[in-house]
């Protein structure tokens, strides 16, 4: 395993553009997208873009242990996060390999690896939060097509995507978790409107998508009609903790930045590191970060051994999201007045870019992306504590 780690490091030394952070600091959306494509191609040519794909589909077919090594090294090298391709590289293949037809696989998987096809996900809906099962977007069968009407929200990078992994209701009479189907939807057609959600950070990482009599050929159904909920499970568990591993390793590295900034002068005299309150706050954040890393390492270890992981992914998501918020808040606090300036953003730099105002405002988008903490806490209560699923009347939106 050391050998693989060494080869990843060597490859990164040779291929990671040394000045990428300089180039992406305050870069335009177009420059960001261009660089994401460039980095995608570099990783692909190096054999690292699809480490988890089977070899027959052009992937590296790496063991999960080696995938862990790869993501650790990408984080430690401070490589850009390949945010634009996340759905394309994880959710789409996981779904198609488990439930798709061979035709669907052949049509899409090579196109993704070529870099031509970018995918997004159409799961969340307004006012339903993360309670996916209560979705209201309708898909009605008419002959050999489905007609889709409705609206999705919080779809990452949908404005750059060609295809959408869509969950829509095909049987409104069935119970909430039944009657949902899973589709491949071509976004480049009439009736599809994408509206970027302008975030407080100024960026627009998420989109709303509106469907007005949009057509889907029946061959684009994944799995059986009304079996979409089952199919979606494959999607949601596809990355098996690698994202959170990458994120915690990035935070561990960013922690050193935070410590360095603790040398700043406080407004009340002296440096933050000489202030007992701030010293302890730093140590506390560190302790939580290390606890998180231990949990992640523990979970990945179980995945490697093929054991089931129960509530751990949810525990880790709640832990991470609360820590990310407190971490960036501490950075903002120690940044003083200067941190109020909206400095240029490091595009593709992740959640702790050291531009603390941006990072703090951006931290909440993780909560949305990762499923709200309310929902996660419920999963924990059910799986880890054996608490009954709560009564519908009191169900919080997630």
């Amino acid at each position: 395993m050391m050998a693989f780690r060494d080869s990843v490091r060597a490859w990164l030394r040779a291929n990671l553009p040394a000045d990428w952070k300089h180039a992406m600091l305050g870069a335009s959306e177009a420059e960001h997208i261009a660089f994401q494509r460039q980095w995608f191609c570099a990783l692909r040519d190096g054999g690292y873009v699809a480490p988890h794909w089977p070899k027959e589909w052009g992937g590296a077919g790496l063991s999960f242990a080696d995938q862990i090594v790869l993501y650790e090294e990408l984080a430690r090298a401070g490589a850009p996060r390949l945010v634009l391709y996340f759905i394309s590289l994880y959710h789409t293949p996981a779904t198609l390999l488990a439930h798709g037809t061979d035709a669907q696989r052949r049509r899409h998987l090579p196109a993704i690896l070529s870099g031509d096809e970018i995918w997004c996900q159409g799961f969340s809906e307004p006012n339903a939060g993360s309670d996916l099962a209560s979705l209201r977007t309708r898909a009605e069968r008419r002959g050999d097509r489905y007609i889709v009407n409705g609206q999705k929200i919080w779809s990452s990078n949908a404005q750059y995507a060609r295809y959408c992994l869509l969950l829509a209701r095909t049987d409104p009479a069935a119970p909430k978790h039944k009657g949902i189907s899973y589709f491949i939807l071509d976004l480049d057609q009439p009736g599809v409107t994408r509206k970027p959600i302008r975030q407080m950070t100024g960026g627009a990482h998420f989109c709303e998508i509106f469907f007005d009599d949009v057509e889907i050929p029946a061959e684009n159904l994944i799995g059986a009609e009304n079996d979409g909920w089952t199919v979606a499970q494959a999607t949601l568990s596809s990355e098996r903790g690698l994202t959170i591993l990458e994120l915690t390793e990035r935070m561990r590295i960013a922690f050193d930045v935070l410590c360095a900034e603790a040398n700043n002068e406080t407004p009340w005299g002296g440096r933050y590191i000489d202030d007992a309150g701030f010293r302890r706050r730093l140590a506390e954040i560190y302790a939580r970060l290390e606890a998180l890393r231990a949990l992640v390492s523990n979970m990945l270890d179980r995945v490697v051994r093929g054991e089931s992981v129960g509530a751990e992914p949810s525990i880790i998501k709640v832990y991470y999201s609360e820590l990310l918020r407190d971490f960036t808040a501490l950075g903002l606090r120690m940044g003083g007045l200067d941190a109020q300036r909206i400095a240029p953003v490091l595009m593709g730099g992740g959640y702790e870019t050291g531009n603390w105002m941006h990072d703090y405002l951006y931290s909440w988008s993780w909560t949305i992306a990762g499923g709200s903490n309310e929902v996660q806490r419920n999963i924990i209560a059910e799986r880890a504590l054996g608490l009954p699923r709560e009564a519908p009347a009191a169900k919080p939106r997630g």
Partner: protein, 379 residues
């Protein structure tokens, strides 16, 4: 302490409200920043609005009659502040004029300076900005480096100021500059922004149309009569000026309003019966109520000319706690509203991030309480 309003106070409040109904344009809430955050449009609007308020005798009613007021008490200033805050502060930057710049001039200015500046303030026609903060100096005023060098009967100013709200549009700057090497050798100068050598650069701020201004002074030359008070008296003047501000902005009104908007949203989504939502919202409401009670207490003490204490800091801490809790509530339960779903909630969030999280405000307030209020000596 009596919390009931007198009939005269109620009448006064109603007069203000009537003036607001009459004077604010129909598109006020859409076109102008609803929360008074120093947009150019809002500053310009204040040039139209404040004179109209002055005509109705409502701009500086708490000032002495000599300078155009009615000799009203601090409650009148406070009621005005509450109503203006709720309305989105249409006075723009001029709330500083009437709250502390005017009163400070009355106390420290020469007769000539008073004649020169107070009428413009009382009529609502002058925009002032506050030249206190500097790059790298944090909020420690004693560490400032902008220099005013005495050359004959003039001062030559060199240096720069940051976070100078309204500077792009201001007529005058209430400037703090160093006139000696000692820690407190600081002097106040009243500098017209149109003076040669004064320049302003702006960065976009966190709020819609808000700007973070930096003001540069390069060999700026002013006559000695631009000085307020004595040379080296700056520290005393600023301390006095800030004491007029000690009630702070009444944050609770807007906070309670914003909480109400978020709850209306959650009700509409059928999520208001979630016990976690209820528990959190209930405590936030309680915190704002406590902040309101404390603020009234502080104003009451001012009216009674009670010796200064740390109640104003306590009021601020309580309000800040409530604001931070409210922001966390918004992020957790109404994220859609913060991303285009509700302009007012989003703007509130943007404005309050700095208040709640940055700049050591919170620690400074606590340290002041520990030192002055609790009499805890430093080791």
């Amino acid at each position: 302490m009596e919390f009931g309003w007198s009939q005269a106070q109620e009448n006064y409040r109603e007069r203000i409200r009537a003036a607001l109904r009459e004077l604010l344009p129909a598109d006020w809430h859409e076109t102008y920043t609803p929360q008074s955050y120093a947009s150019d449009a809002q500053i310009e609007f204040s040039r139209k609005f404040c004179p109209q308020l002055a005509e109705r005798g409502l701009l500086v009613r708490h000032w002495p009659k000599e300078w155009g007021g009615e000799g009203g008490d601090d409650w009148e200033q406070f009621i005005l502040a509450e109503e203006m805050k709720v309305a989105g502060e249409p006075r723009g930057p001029q709330y500083m004029n009437v709250n502390w710049i005017g009163p400070t001039l009355m106390r420290f200015a020469t007769p000539e300076q008073r004649e020169k500046y107070l009428p413009g303030i009382a009529r609502g026609t002058t925009i002032w900005c506050q030249g206190f903060s500097e790059p790298g100096a944090g909020t420690d005023l004693a560490a400032l480096r902008t220099k005013a060098e005495r050359i004959g009967d003039r001062y030559r100013i060199n240096g720069s100021k940051i976070w100078t709200s309204y500077a792009r549009k201001a007529d005058m700057c209430f400037l703090l500059a160093r006139t000696g090497a000692g820690r407190k050798e600081i002097t106040v100068l009243l500098v017209p922004m149109a003076t040669m050598g004064v320049s302003v650069t702006s960065n976009p701020g966190l709020c819609k149309d808000g700007h973070l201004n930096e003001v540069f002074f390069t060999d700026v030359d002013v006559a000695i009569d631009a000085r307020l008070g004595e040379e080296g008296q700056g520290w005393a003047i600023v301390t006095h000026a800030l004491s007029f501000e000690r009630t702070g902005v009444p944050r609770y009104h807007v906070g309670i309003e914003v909480l109400g908007l978020a709850i209306a949203q959650l009700k509409a989504e059928g999520r208001a019966d979630d016990p976690i939502v209820r528990a959190r919202a209930g405590m936030i409401a309680a915190q704002f109520e406590a902040a309101r009670a404390l603020t009234y207490l502080v104003v009451d003490q001012r009216v009674k000319r009670a010796p200064e204490n740390t109640d104003a800091n306590v009021a601020r801490i309580t309000a800040l706690d409530a604001v931070v809790e409210l922001m966390n509530f918004l992020v957790e339960f109404t994220p859609d509203c913060l991303a285009g779903g509700d302009a007012q909630l989003e703007e509130y969030y943007r404005i309050n991030v700095p208040a709640g999280v940055t700049a050591g405000t919170y620690e400074l307030q606590l340290d002041l309480i520990a030192q002055r209020g609790l009499g805890l000596p430093r080791g």
